[in-house]
Symmetry: C2
Subunit: 326 residues, 2 copies
């Protein structure tokens, strides 16, 4: 996606307000624009032009950045794309408002769709966007409740349901659905795009959690091991809770229940060792591979009727990429 299009919607309507400099900070730090690319490719694979999809793609990137600013507060994260997080730089009050500003800004390109797509399709996209945002806050709520109540009896299915909502809806399901909506002018069964998006997004999230544990800091842009410091219930931690001995489980429950500031380096090192000892990292890699295989299978069904195109091939190539990226 062109940075120019994103920048256009970040330009201050109120030149004296410093909020727009702050709102542009995370987007300016770069990022892959995965969601925007997916939205545009899906639209083009269904026969639309880039022009017809660009506003929806821009809106999604703005909302993604809104989520990142609020997630960083909620998770107590310290680093984002290689720099300190918004709330570390400017305090929690301003960071809450910057996230709100980015979310509000994401409405403008969605409303601006009207000029190219007409009122009816514009409202259909807004309807999809409302559902996507709702699924995302529901998913976030599940994860926050797990930490707040120190949940330790979690199954893989709980984790998959949580990331279906928290990650997959806005990262993969919605971009595919909206692309198809624009490309077909609302003449396709969008539910076919639920499964492909879910499997792709779930593999993506597990790989993201793996990179947080074993990735290269310079390329990942976040503190390595941050999820363990934050007490996040990743698939690896859930596997560890299942595999741990009774004594280990007691210790795990204690460490996971601490406030982030009260966890020690020894606590984190111990969890890291136990993850290795119980093969939790290898287990998560296998699950991610299985999900990627399922995504490839669903790809054939969801996009089978479409003629071959660069965009169709790009969508397919995303599947191995999400689990192989470093």
């Amino acid at each position: 996606m062109s940075r120019t299009a994103l920048r256009e919607f970040l330009r201050p309507p109120e030149p004296r307000s410093e909020i727009y400099d702050l709102a542009a900070d995370y987007p300016d730090r770069g990022g892959r624009s995965l969601r925007a690319s997916l939205c545009i490719s899906s639209a083009r694979a269904f026969g639309a032009s880039q022009e017809e999809a660009i506003n929806s793609a821009v809106a999604l990137e703005l909302l993604h950045n809104a989520f990142l600013v609020h997630d960083d507060i909620e998770d107590g994260s310290e680093e984002r794309r290689g720099r300190p997080t918004m709330h570390l730089l400017h305090g929690v009050p301003i960071a809450v408002n910057v996230g709100d500003a980015l979310a509000v800004l994401s409405l403008r390109p969605l409303i601006a769709n009207r000029a190219k797509l007409g009122s009816r399709l514009t409202l259909r996209i807004l309807e999809e966007a409302e559902r996507m945002a709702r699924e995302s806050v529901e998913g976030q709520a599940i994860e926050l409740a797990w930490r707040r109540h120190n949940a330790v009896d979690l199954q893989d299915a709980d984790y998959l349901r949580m990331i279906l909502k928290k990650t997959c809806w806005y990262t993969t399901i919605y971009p595919c659905r909206v692309g198809a909506l624009i490309g077909t002018r609302d003449r396709v069964d969008l539910d076919r795009h639920m499964r492909f998006g879910f499997f792709l997004g779930a593999a993506f999230q597990i790989q993201d959690d793996l990179l947080n544990l074993v990735g290269d800091h310079a390329r990942y842009g976040k503190e390595i091991g941050g999820d363990v410091w934050e007490g996040k219930r990743t698939l690896m931690i859930i596997r560890l809770l299942q595999q741990a001995s009774p004594e280990e489980r007691i210790e795990l429950r204690r460490v996971l229940g601490l406030e982030r500031e009260r966890r020690t380096h020894d606590d984190v090192r111990w969890i890291r060792e136990r993850l290795d000892a119980h093969g939790c990292i290898e287990y998560a890699r296998q699950v991610a591979h299985g999900l990627a295989g399922a995504a490839l299978h669903e790809f054939q069904s969801a996009y089978a009727d479409l003629p071959d195109s660069r965009d169709k091939r790009f969508l397919k190539a995303l599947v191995p990429w999400v689990i192989e990226r470093a």
Copy 2:
């Protein structure tokens, strides 16, 4: 506004998600529904039915509650409508997400407008809502920056510009504009409703700040003097900064620059005394009265062409109410 209508949009689409109980907490604590009443009355004064305006009114109340949850975090407030604030009850991470959830929920009734009002008018209302939300975050950003940078050289005009954005747009200007939009099917000059809404909303905000200083706790529902504890730049504080002696100004700058937790009872008591000594409370009362007078004047112009009705009389009666309420 009927509580039933509000409740309908707070009903969980995802029954297992606890986020909807939390989202219903602030709305369940009561409140005057001033913004919803204003929206519906304005619509009816322009000839619409309550049915045609109810979704827009509900959306506004949901967004208002979203703002309250995030404002309480940003201001470090301890009490809201007679109970502890969301972040005191559930922690900042969950409270940030609950505010996001309420904001997302506010989109649904706005999109549901389509069934009664058609696609074109639905999008026009969304356009107004986007501007209103944008003005609100800009206003919030100004106020947060004043506290973050310990601003002490502020004029009355700075304050009025800040509350134009932070308070008036969503409390009074937008409800009047959207009511007129619905009632006339987008056939009226909405800018006529800017000035009435601004004067009414500004008088409302100043009275709100006065009640925070001198109100009755049981009826006000927030800690009395909370604004002073939070270091808010109210009109009274700005007046005090202007009227203070050089020695007082130095002390004021010191106290206003402290973190909330570091302010002492003596600090707050001293500011409270200085506000009385320099007649700042009386000054703010006079400004609020002047603004109410201007609002009455603008009322004649904005609503002059409309036939007499209960709703028209209600709108006019709001003007004295905002400055006389306790």
